[in-house]
Symmetry: C2
């Protein structure tokens, strides 16, 4: 014993029934007699049977596979890690399991992992596409009728579902808030300028700025890598200007943290001498000092909602593309200087 795996036929023999009956038991069919059912189940436990899903959904070409794939462009960014967790919770409770792959912004890698996932028979895909992904790259998927939900970054011509956050509204609100606090030289800091997300966030910033007394000033937008190091770097550039800004709306929280680091290195206290607003509301935002004022996008929530959209399409049979925008809200904490009272910490 031990060599070959235990199959439904072994169970049938041991239980003195036919393989068909065992199959019915596996599917919890009401057709089978209660006594046989318990007997079969007992034998299964005894022999250590494990269901072979591969064989099962080879037979049922119609029903799909209980596997979904999620491919993200940068798993080391905790935004995506949390998004993955959100997806995981809902697919798990729907009895699915997820392939997860990281592309590190490489289109080639992305193509490979998507191909590999198809070969393994995923019944749907959640994709946060690598920079530079074209509608063309998704063509094979839609041709094959595989449901796809794009998250975070949308792709113009692709006929697939998408779920992005309301970037325009987010930065718009951030600027309004800073302006209401009396700031006028407000910078837009960080992010790669060749992405749609950047355009949207910058758009919100611009539209809000144009309603202020200062108006839009191009020198106030300084881009950089969307990372903590990028934030440090971008701030350094911003502070060399003749009239440096007094506040910054950052591309994301990582950049905002970098900006805070850079300020402190210059002996400028974020939240006191300079206002900083982030974007994303990652988990550290609320515990850092000073707590980060930011635009909350709830990455886990997006993951969950994306997973729900995907499962809906999978169950619907015919994939009906749907695009949604996830609303965002401004979370006012300390880094923008709005909280004048020093918050006391609970002590044991």
């Amino acid at each position: 014993m031990g060599k070959g795996r235990v199959t439904v036929i072994d169970i049938a023999k041991a239980a003195g029934v036919s393989k068909s009956t065992v199959s019915l038991v596996l599917q919890a069919s009401p057709l089978v007699n209660e006594s046989t059912r318990t007997k079969v189940n007992a034998v299964m436990r005894e022999l250590g049977y494990v269901y072979n899903r591969g064989a099962a959904n080879l037979r049922q070409a119609n029903a799909r596979s209980k596997i979904i794939g999620i491919v993200v462009n940068d798993l080391t960014n905790s935004f995506f890690a949390e998004l993955a967790v959100g997806v995981d919770t809902v697919v798990q409770s729907a009895g699915f399991v997820q392939f997860l792959s990281n592309t590190s912004e490489s289109i080639d890698r992305q193509r490979e992992v998507i191909a590999s996932m198809r070969e393994h028979g995923v019944s749907g895909l959640i994709i946060s596409p690598a920079r530079g992904t074209e509608a063309f790259d998704l063509k094979p998927l839609v041709m094959a009728g595989i449901p796809v939900v794009l998250v975070v970054r949308n792709i113009p011509g692709a006929k697939v579902s998408s779920l992005v956050s309301d970037n325009h509204a987010g930065t718009f609100a951030a600027v309004e808030h800073l302006a209401a606090l009396g700031h006028s030289r407000i910078a837009f800091v960080g992010g790669f300028s060749d992405t749609a997300v950047f355009d949207e966030r910058l758009g919100g910033y611009r539209d809000a700025m144009s309603k202020t007394s200062t108006g839009v000033r191009d020198e106030l937008v300084v881009s950089s890598a969307p990372s903590r190091a990028g934030g440090v770097d971008a701030l350094a550039r911003a502070m060399t200007m003749p009239e440096p800004p007094t506040a910054a709306v950052c591309f994301n929280d990582a950049v905002a943290f970098g900006v805070c680091d850079g300020l402190r290195a210059r002996r400028i206290e974020p939240g006191k001498d300079f206002a900083v607003v982030g974007f994303d509301d990652v988990i550290e935002a609320k515990t850092t000092v000073p707590a980060l004022t930011t635009i909350s996008v709830d990455p886990q929530g997006i993951g969950q909602r994306a997973a729900q959209m995907l499962l809906k399409q999978i169950n619907a049979g015919k994939p009906e593309a749907e695009s949604a925008v996830s609303s965002v809200r401004l979370i006012v904490r300390e880094s923008c200087g709005a909280a004048m009272n020093k918050p006391g910490r609970k002590m044991a």
Copy 2:
């Protein structure tokens, strides 16, 4: 067209050969004539064929499945996210794809996802077990001959491979370093006291402390959740002591960041008035201000190495359990106060 999927038989018909030949082409067999090979490949491209791995490894019961599973206890912790990335890179280049699931420290969930992955036919598993996992829980896996590599947390009686970092050496080095800088009241801060990792790190701290003039003092170890918030909390408790510490060896980087937050909230400057050492060297450690002195464990490296151990076992056929400890090293940055010169930042 478009309803049924394209199979190897369709290709065979269209190319005027037999399905066996097509199969040989798929496996890049040297037996097939060059001209037929190119023809078959052309037809495949034309008809949009996608390989059905499920069917394939149903046939070859011997060869395994090109899927590995990775289950972690907390994906929102960036340590694990990076570990997952490390695993991903090596399994991807070995032509594998990974299932990833998050257990959120729930044993039930862990049992479910492992069962699900088995049903899907994974050929190996990398597990960072949920708190409280017993050797018993892994029994079915080893009985079935499925290779398992435990990472981060080892489980005493389990007959599977493991790869953990040298926790004892890490905290030992941290204490030695702080003592050399002149500190004597050195606290050990954070972590749940019911885990093996905690014991090991505390052990290294204790052994090093017993060699100092102060010796081991139990009131200097204050545990907490291994998170940023936990660090804030633990520091608060530590500072209420009659003779508060002047330095802290932290359970991990998240706790260390929390300790820094807590210090700043008390107007104590980390790296100047108080020395802080972390454990893990997460990605933010080097960019934060002050840069965190910490024990580097290179999570991506661990992920890669674990994946290599697993692949080796998968290829070996018979799983030979092997346990390794990954060495760690002290990275001296600013938070311990050792760097007296203020590091200048590169400007554009």
